[in-house]
């Protein structure tokens, strides 16, 4: 308010100034006959008068803006609309201005309801518009592409600023090693992983090892990734069916990947980004902190025994001594009677209160109820996953690595003489040199999603159906028992005479085969 009165003062003075300017001009003309230097004075006075006129004109426009936005604490927005209006009037119209003018003109047409405001006069003589107001909808309520582009630029720039202010100062490149093979759920896992790796702010070298050789299907997915460098290497042995053999082959593939790092002398942080893992971006910033070898906690999702208490599966390993927490089956039965509690299973380093590594949490999966899997129990794989570890790339260099002496040399740990599978933990001679990341293992930075389709499930190549399906083959019934999933409400009744899709069949474990409805016109629906 004070600003407005100040400007009006100035306006008044401007007008009086101009009037007095004319007076002084007439007076100066009479005196100019007396002295020649008065010519110069007249000239100066004219210049100042013109200057104040011009600036005064600017000031009047500013004050009119202020008056228009008197009730508006932020004056720049009415200024925006007024500016576009004035530019429209001068003829320099962009498409944006045209649209804005059209909308302003059609504002009343666009309103949904007629304005029916009742104006209440309060005792203070103040007008407040209470009552029904119009809901203003513009005639084309859709985003304008230029604005969207501008907004995205803004977002990108804000993120860059955030990265500079709060991001980690070190930006070592990340080397991600992934093993994959063509199967039904490869699309699910690989798509998630490639998008995660594409948004990491540091340069990423992605080494993909494929069991069974390089295939077009995997290449099709990998082409979507935006990484600094992508390596798609093939491993000629196809992926075996048994879990034990699979883990052995995967270990060998990862060693091959590390061999590539060693050969090319790549620099950075080596991360074992498995396909089925969900990484948070924090994981990659934490991984930057590693000096030689680091360990992180991996959470587990999708393990069996969700309803029953999963506590019984945790086995602690303290330097070779195994401390099992009770007999698995008995404990499970006892705890099944108790109220189910969900505690996330976490595999990774265990710290004491001082922050020193004292042991490891290892996941031992509960067998399914009434099921016996061949080889599952016998595996008793008391090993940590490769994903739990993060390496400095120099740790696998053969020469010029300047590795400290507590890191085993490549030949020692990667090619064990007895032919057993290489274990990543064996890269250090003793646990004390392992750096625990993620708030001493308390923060779970990545999650292992153990969800896979049946080994014999079929899927369309690259998930593209080239021609419509004509032959309908029912899915094989699975050998897994139909476990009722507890719901909050009873399942909705199947629609009578509907499309034939069974809504109540959600409890059935997906077998990877898509159930086709009987009606021909719904054949194009892919559920």
């Amino acid at each position: 308010m004070k600003k407005v009165t100040g400007s009006s003062h100035r306006l008044a003075r401007m007008r009086s100034k101009n009037r007095s300017g004319f007076n002084s001009e007439q007076a100066s003309e009479t005196s100019s006959r007396l002295m020649p230097v008065s010519h110069f004075r007249v000239f100066i006075q004219c210049m100042f008068c013109i200057g104040t006129l011009i600036l005064g004109f600017r000031l009047t426009t500013e004050s009119s803006f202020l008056k228009a936005s008197f009730q508006n604490p932020e004056a720049s927005f009415t200024r925006i609309s007024a500016r576009t209006d004035s530019s429209a009037s001068t003829g320099t119209e962009s498409q944006f201005d045209l649209q804005l003018r059209r909308e302003f003109a059609n504002g009343s047409k666009g309103s949904r309801l007629a304005y029916n405001g009742t104006i209440v006069h309060s005792s203070g003589g103040v007008r407040v518009d209470v009552g029904r107001h119009a809901i203003l909808i513009r005639p084309w309520p859709h985003p304008d592409p230029f604005e969207v582009l501008h907004a995205h630029h803004l977002i990108k720039r804000v993120q860059l600023e955030q990265q500079q202010l709060y991001g980690s100062k070190e930006s070592k490149p990340i080397i991600a090693i992934t093993t994959t093979f063509v199967r039904t759920f490869q699309a699910v896992h690989l798509t998630g992983l490639l998008h995660t790796l594409s948004v990491i702010p540091v340069p990423v070298t992605w080494i993909v090892m494929e069991a069974g050789g390089v295939t077009n299907e995997t290449a099709h997915f990998l082409s979507l990734a935006h990484v600094h460098r992508l390596l798609h290497l093939g491993f000629d042995i196809p992926m075996p069916a048994g879990l034990n053999e699979r883990s052995k082959l995967e270990a060998q593939m990862r060693v091959e990947g590390l061999r590539y790092v060693q050969k090319e002398k790549l620099e950075g942080v080596v991360v074992f980004a498995d396909e089925g893992n969900i990484h948070s971006l924090e994981f990659f910033t934490e991984a930057q902190k590693v000096e030689w070898v680091g360990a992180v906690s991996v959470g587990l999702l999708g393990f069996a025994g969700f309803e029953e208490s999963p506590q019984s599966g945790i086995v602690h390993v303290h330097d070779g001594r195994v401390e099992a927490r009770g007999n698995h089956i008995l404990l499970a039965a006892r705890q099944a009677a108790a109220a189910p509690r969900f505690e996330p299973q976490v595999q990774g380093p265990a710290c004491d209160s001082n922050g020193n590594l004292i042991g490891w949490h290892i996941f031992d999966p509960l067998p399914l109820e009434g099921e016996v899997h061949k080889g599952m129990r016998a595996a008793q794989n008391r090993r940590l996953e490769w994903a739990n570890f993060v390496l400095n790339a120099r740790a696998v260099w053969k020469t010029e690595g300047n590795q400290p002496e507590w890191i085993r040399s490549w030949d020692e740990w990667a090619n064990p003489e007895d032919g057993s599978t290489p274990d990543i933990k064996a890269i250090v001679r003793s646990d004390q040199w392992v750096k625990v990341l993620g708030n001493c293992g308390r923060k779970v930075l990545l999650w292992w999603l153990r969800a896979e389709a049946r080994a014999d499930s079929k899927h369309p190549n690259k998930w593209i159906l080239d021609e419509s399906l004509e032959i309908i083959v029912p899915a094989k019934s699975t050998p897994w028992p139909r476990r009722p999933v507890r719901r909050a409400a009873p399942p909705p009744p199947a629609p009578a005479g509907g499309t034939g899709m069974k809504h109540g069949a959600g409890s059935r474990v997906s077998s990877g085969k898509v159930r086709r409805p009987k009606r021909k016109q719904d054949q194009t629906n892919v559920s």
Binding site: R10, I44, G110, I137, V158
Partner: protein
């Protein structure tokens, strides 16, 4: 900013011209036209005086007390004022709380926490003779429905009863008829004690509170329910709940505009147009398809985390212009987009809201995407930098335990700035200004 620069430039020019005129006046002294020269000389002297006056006015132009955010916010009120807390019987405060402990967690909980703070604060004095301000702890917003919404129907009677109590047992009310008393009234429309705007305007501020200072969350210019000299405070938001949900600041902000809440109040205004004066409905109808706008009525459990991933957070008016979204936006670093005409934001004399937030007039809501995409990058970064200032975040919170610079201290700062009291508030003994029989018939019944 540009206005100031232009103004100073114009002042320079005016100054030069005026000096020219004066010199010209002196020169004309030698010429023959006497009366003309006198008039022009006087005019130029007058203009010079005006110019000097205007210069002095220019320095007082700022409505803010001091330039940057954080200066005034860090003032320490301890030692600058003394507050006496009346001891009211439990039926005015403790009993309401015992009846419904939800009063401590809803957005009107400021009245309880201010009482608690003042009882333990060093500004409290047990000697009322030396007190500058008097506080009456009466919880008028604690009569809750089963749903948790406060009913204001008894509040005027409760307030009148409390005031008649303190006027009976202490002489200080009658000394000034409330001129040095303050009350915390955090309800929708402050001391108008109604949740519907029409009724609130019709009732006006409770007549017995006409001379007292009101500490309220409601603030709107040119509105009956905002008295001159009121202190506008933020609504209560639980500080522990918000501070436990911080995500790392390096998480990139990928949402452009974020809002969660109602657009249509189906229960009270099914056709739309009354609720929020149609502004929220306009936001929905215009931007529900816009991918830049993450707006919905769905309750999400990641509300606080999502706010920290958003650049702009909408704070539109509802039935009342204020909302806790402003507090949440400031705490989580999300630039508040305030859609409420004439709103007076909390601690507006200490926090430069125009520099922090974006104000959109209600009639421009349908162009919100244009307005937001026209904001330049430098402005956005500047606003985010101001929001990162911990002083502002602290000023919005009613921290438990109290910390320097938090909302309690800002209230005390506001009270301290109003000292010393105008000697006119002190009435002569026996002089009565307030009319106790003024107001609605129902409010006059004793409680």
């Amino acid at each position: 900013m540009e206005l100031a620069k232009v103004g100073s430039l114009v002042d320079c020019c005016i100054g030069i011209v005026v000096v020219e005129e004066i010199m010209g006046g002196f020169w004309k002294l030698r010429s023959n036209n006497s009366w003309r020269k006198n008039v022009s000389f006087l005019m130029s002297v007058g203009l010079l005086l005006l110019f000097l006056c205007q210069l002095s006015l220019a320095t007082v132009h700022h409505q803010r007390i001091s330039g940057s955010a954080g200066d005034v916010l860090e003032d320490n009120p301890i030692g600058r004022l003394k507050v006496f807390v009346y001891e009211l019987p439990g039926r005015y405060n403790k009993k309401w709380l015992k009846r419904d402990p939800r009063c401590l967690t809803h957005m009107f909980a400021a009245e309880e926490f201010v009482h608690d703070f003042l009882l333990k604060s060093p500004v409290r004095t047990l000697d009322p003779e030396e007190a500058d301000w008097f506080y009456t702890p009466v919880y008028t917003t604690c009569d809750l429905t089963p749903n948790g919404l406060p009913l204001p129907f008894k509040s005027p009677r409760v307030m009148r009863s409390a005031i008649s109590y303190i006027s009976m047992y202490w002489p200080f009310w009658n000394r000034t008829e409330g001129g040095d008393h303050f009350f915390v009234v955090p309800h929708d429309f402050g001391a108008c004690f109604h949740y519907q705007e029409e009724n609130a305007i019709e009732r006006g501020i409770l007549p017995v509170l006409k001379r007292a200072t009101l500490v309220q969350t409601f603030g709107q210019n040119h509105h009956v329910c905002l008295k001159e000299g009121s202190i506008v405070i933020p609504p209560y938001a639980p500080p522990e709940k918000m501070q436990s949900r911080f995500i790392p600041p390096s998480t990139p902000r990928s949402i452009f505009v974020y809002f969660r809440g109602l657009f249509y109040d189906i229960g009270n205004d099914p056709e739309g147009g009354y609720y929020a004066r149609g502004a929220r409905a306009a936001v929905w109808e215009n931007f529900k398809d816009n991918p830049l706008f993450d707006i919905s009525t769905q309750h999400t459990s990641t509300y606080y985390e999502d706010m920290q991933r958003a650049i702009f957070c909408l704070c539109p008016l509802g039935w009342a212009p204020w909302s806790p979204r402003l507090v949440e936006g400031v705490i989580f670093g999300c630039i508040p987009v305030i859609i409420a005409d004439d709103i007076v934001l909390p601690f507006a004399d200490a926090i430069p809201w125009e520099k922090i937030g974006v104000f959109v007039p209600e009639k421009e809501v349908h162009n919100l995407d244009k307005i937001l995409s026209l904001i330049s990058l430098e402005q956005v970064l500047e606003k985010q930098k101001l929001l990162a200032n911990p002083a502002i975040k602290q000023a919005m919170l009613f921290s438990q335990p109290t910390l320097p610079g938090d909302a309690f201290h800002q209230i005390l700062n506001g009270l301290a700035r109003k000292l010393p009291h105008d000697p006119h508030i002190y009435l002569k003994p026996g002089q009565r200004v307030l009319n106790w029989s003024e107001g609605h018939k129902k409010d006059l019944k004793p409680w």
